[in-house]
Symmetry: D4
């Protein structure tokens, strides 16, 4: 390799957490195994905690054994956590998802919150095609400070839910769907074009981002100097 | 004008009704006042009934007085009916609409059905952002044979409604909305990408088409030889 | 796995059929083999009938032998039926398809109807590029109560057919096509922008949904208390 | 005005006709009245023939009286012809249009051909929603060397027609339609995604271009040295 | 008007505020002057407070004098407030906008918050093309609990701002821009595709929605029983 | 398989050639090997000629040996010809292509013409980025009756070429390109939005269709009764 | 107006020119007459030079007489210059445009350069449909350091030109066109998907931006310390 | 193969460099191994230098050993250089990239410049989500004559950077991103819709084109006769 092209090397921004109150994370998709292994070794050597998202089973399996052993890996959400998870006594966030196929994204929300020491309750399979399922769990949902709603297809859950609760509702559209609903753009637009006021959204399949938004909100509940 | 260009003249297809059981109608948008006046005079001379859709107040006002007097014109739905309306004793169709701005399209559905001698009940302002409004009228909706649902914005009404009734649900998306919901494409895609099975849709703002679809279905309920 | 993430487990909604008159089905695409196997075992243990759609040959082959043996699997439509099929004496539905490549979707319509005990006649390869093929079978098509039209590419079949029959016409656009017709969006828009009044459509490749819409209509023909 | 910005002045390319066998024309839309008047005066001074397209009634009315008097103006097609029209004994081109609203574009095709001395027959209002209308005139259409098909909405006419005739079929999609069919993109894509082989298309509402394409073809029928 | 079409009449949902903690508002765009006048008279008769959004100067001018006198109308944001505004002692929300043309939307955010009794500070003209302007006011922005960012064009402000503050950042994309940035879709997608984690967005030009989202968050800071 | 689902079987339309003057062809993409083998055997048994398009090397290799031996297969264009090729003495068509990657589509044009007994000359690698290459072969191109232009990326070749020749120009856009040019939509739109009058286009990568359009035109040059 | 909403007031960034070497300009579209008048008065009071773009004749006419008199206004490009224009001895930039309708944008390029003291030569009406027009002026174009190419419709000029000159080519796509070419997106994508290497583009109709890009390049030719 | 289809053979345009000052390069994507091998052998036989772009590791591995040995291959940028690299003493170009995943494109820029004998400095991982990283290297960036900015996702880097430097800024959007940012269209539009004046862009992932644009600019700095 010519001298003017130094090795591609990730420079983790360990100071970010201090500055913004949000934890550092690595988006694994599109990174080589070597690059990921380097990041993990570097973090381990510095005894730092780290969240890895979009880490497929296949790539996880190709990491060095030492890295694999050090990680708490969850296949469904494709997330891995390096280092100890803080104790998260109460669930402040309700993660409400529409269908079984939305589970990976809903769980990415939960794992990101877990990494940040925030408890979350998964309320799954309450899509609006069978409205009674959502109604049956409404009181339980209302007990939480923040609601993260996860849905694909036509995303009708976002409007219905936002009309029923007064808490902040963060919509995480998923790429579940086909035909006119393929790629998640329909759910995504539904979240933003919602007839229920005050729904906000993050990018398609961005469970990590939905959790980060929840964390920004929950930060407000801490004593002011911590915000 | 050169001889090879004869006058543009509408040739109404008066036999269509006999063939398909669906009534003849004129889509006024994009036609000149002279063209519309000609059609109306021709129909009146033949004592034929006629439904005119998308007839703006402004164009209606510019029609000859004789035509205006012969028409039953409704400003909200921009429809005009020429000739006697048949008696429509019972309401077989529930026209369920989400918001006040959907009224023109919902009423176009009703007027088209009225022209065909079919009764319809307007159930308005039951958008899902305030779910209780829909729930309060659910039993009433269920009494009808066919449900025509009219909604713009994110169109969540279609999914919710189809999950609650077993009758045919015909979605008529409207162009009500702005930003990501402008033009009606969001409501339209939501109807088709619905998580509730068996929802069908017609074109955006196509109240006439929604009514025609309902008529095709209701035809089945007549004695077989009439279908 | 952390305690707050219970196993992803499908909770079939066995009561849906009672409520809406529509049968329960499982959309296999995007579900893991383990998840599907669990659903099938659970249904078998409860002696319930079940329709599985979008079940690829590859996934079917990886199901437990017991599940495979219990299923009536059709490779072309990628559907599987668990439990006895009801007797379907007469064909009420004509499934009219444009080209050979539309066969999988047309057959998904037929299999879904079969599962619900409704007979259907497949009228294939009658695309409008060779109009005489459609004309030759027109009388046969007209004998049915409901027409489900299945077409990809530019979807001209929908308009032509709806102009020729008075029955309800449910358009099922397919993803057959390439270039400007790729993904099925062209056929899909053609169905909705049709110049023939009263055509309704479901999502692209949604043979199951087209059948469900037909069933909602046919329900109306039963004695009223069954609707 | 600073010296480096000379007056915007149209330099007509009078030699184009000699080179390509296609006549010079002026697209009026977006040009100022002054600019158009200048072009017309210049052409009149040189005794040149000229076709003006997309000339609205409003702009035509604001042209100098001398220019207006010199023009053969047709309001429907918004075309004006300067200079004598050549004799066009036989109709080689069938201009087949779907609905009344397609008349302006169909007539732009005819006027452009007329300017070039080519006869055309207008066969209007034969959209496929009422197939018998097209069938009734099929033999007449087949008598022409080239077929120009003009249709908006879902453009099903293009596929049906191309399956019925062996002549070249040039599709001119129009912007007639609304909702999913608005702007003409649906008709346009249908022309290209047609299931009938050998259909070709020009831009939306481009009646002039459709005629030019027909002229390129008809040029082939002249003695070879003229091509 | 036929008897089955009752007058279109808005049924305000005065109980919504009690249920969701969010105030009732009227979206004026697309409603007739008569409809709006009726709503205002009804609200005045019941001594209710009301926020009207998207009320153009032209429509405001056509309201009855009594209605106009009762309203606190702001031309820039096109909002009107009926009834007394609550005292809003401290500014909890920073409304940060990129350019002068974003002012109407930014002010709609502020007016909606004002109506709800929440103070807001407008920090305008800090687009990233001149980064020093944003940097100069960063400390001031950080003093607020919630940040509402308002930007059109390429929406780079959202990413930059979210990387600099730890508070919740609600992006309100505006339709300011032209060419590739016309309609606000570019700013809108930038907000969601942001490289800075935890940015959330509402619909294009939806200042009201951005404020409602902020109110949902600020509700959390009240004593728990009020949420 | 249930009795109501007969085997999917292609019914070749051998009479089409007689009716439209266009040959029968099979689009192999999306058809199973068994289906294709059946068609080929059936055609061979009836001693019919047949053109197969979009036949990948992989699928060709899986056909029965007897079918493979009977076919004249061309790997680059993915076309196969069954039966004798007619003698094609003169080249009436110039197939002009822009880059090396357009070769497969350009050759599909040529092979389709060859199957119909029409000679074609391939003029490759004359994209406009190096205009001198096109200029150097312009006289050669002008010797042909019809020009089929094949180009991907931004498709500038279509406009330039149509400005230089008076013959019919049929644009075949290809899916060669990436980023803004991916999928062929850019080349496709360029062909239709061309500033040179009279360019016509077929679908993306549709070399077969481009050739069929040329054949429709060349049919006109035969003695009239053959058209 | 409530106290917390100060008057919307433009704060011109007079220091920008010093920092970036690019002059300050005001985009008039979407700003009120009052706002523009304020900016102009403020600039005049400080004896500052100012370029106003997108200033329509109608808005210009409504400015105070004093402002109008102080401005050098050009109707075609909709630009106004306040203050003295620097001497621009040589033309370093060739502004090459395709059609007459591209003149306003081409002239905006020229006026922006003029304001910056850079000479430009307008080479108009050299679209590629008549290639000889471009060829006839190629040597003249090659004499300039930078080429700004202005074209709408299919934008083929960009590729052809970039293949013929070695200077930097800045493409300014215009919104000239209709149908598939409407809005300028086709020309815009053509510029970027060009087969000629090294073409760069700015936003649609952004003549100001094209000139600014040219100025950034020409800055490099000044003695280094000025860059 | 029939005689009329000569072998597809690349005719390299070795004279291009002389004409335009830009080097010849081969875009490997979509070319067969045999085609590439032929080009390389031909170039080697003529002792010509050659740049190959988009050459995947997999295709590189399948080239003949002699070709592989003759190439300087870089896996990250997927580029190969045949022949000696000229000496490039000083870095005139700053290649500024936003994230680790943009490295392949950033390096393609660098390798193309290296092939042309122009030095470049890679300034990586300075995305705006952590603005301090960009600020820390701003002075270093300002030392270069031309800035090539490489970013995916929402592409906010382009606007921020162009507001901070006066040099030409060439934006190379990358396809890094997902959901609303997938495919690179968001970054691409952000570059063009930028609020900072004078940003220009090339196609998505087009590092080669970005470098060619820089070379066109740097050519201006050579003594005039070399341009």
């Amino acid at each position: 390799m010519p001298a003017e092209f130094p090795d591609v090397q990730a420079v983790m921004d360990w100071e970010r957490e201090a500055r913004t109150g949000l934890c550092e994370a690595v988006f694994a998709e599109g990174k080589t195994v070597a690059c990921l292994a380097g990041i993990l070794e570097n973090a381990a050597a510095q005894s730092r905690r780290l969240l890895v998202t979009r880490l497929s089973t296949e790539v996880f399996g190709r990491l060095p054994a030492a890295s694999r052993d050090a990680l708490d890996y969850d296949e469904v959400s494709r997330t891995a956590i390096l280092g100890p998870a803080p104790h998260a006594p109460d669930a402040h966030v309700a993660v409400v998802s529409a269908g079984m196929s939305d589970a990976p994204v809903a769980r990415e929300v939960g794992r990101t919150l877990q990494f940040a020491g925030v408890g979350a309750r998964q309320i799954a399979d309450v899509g609006v095609a069978g409205l009674w399922r959502l109604m049956a769990r409404l009181e339980e949902i209302r007990e939480h400070r923040v609601v993260v709603a996860v849905a694909g297809m036509e995303g009708a859950l976002f409007s219905v839910l936002a009309g029923l609760v007064s808490a902040p509702v963060i919509a995480v559209p998923t790429s579940v769907g086909y035909g006119v609903g393929s790629g998640g753009h329909l759910a995504f637009h539904s979240a933003l074009g919602s007839c229920a006021p005050g729904v906000v959204a993050v990018n398609i399949d961005n469970g990590f981002g939905g959790a980060q938004a929840a964390l920004r909100i929950l930060n407000l509940l801490r004593p002011r100097d911590a915000a």
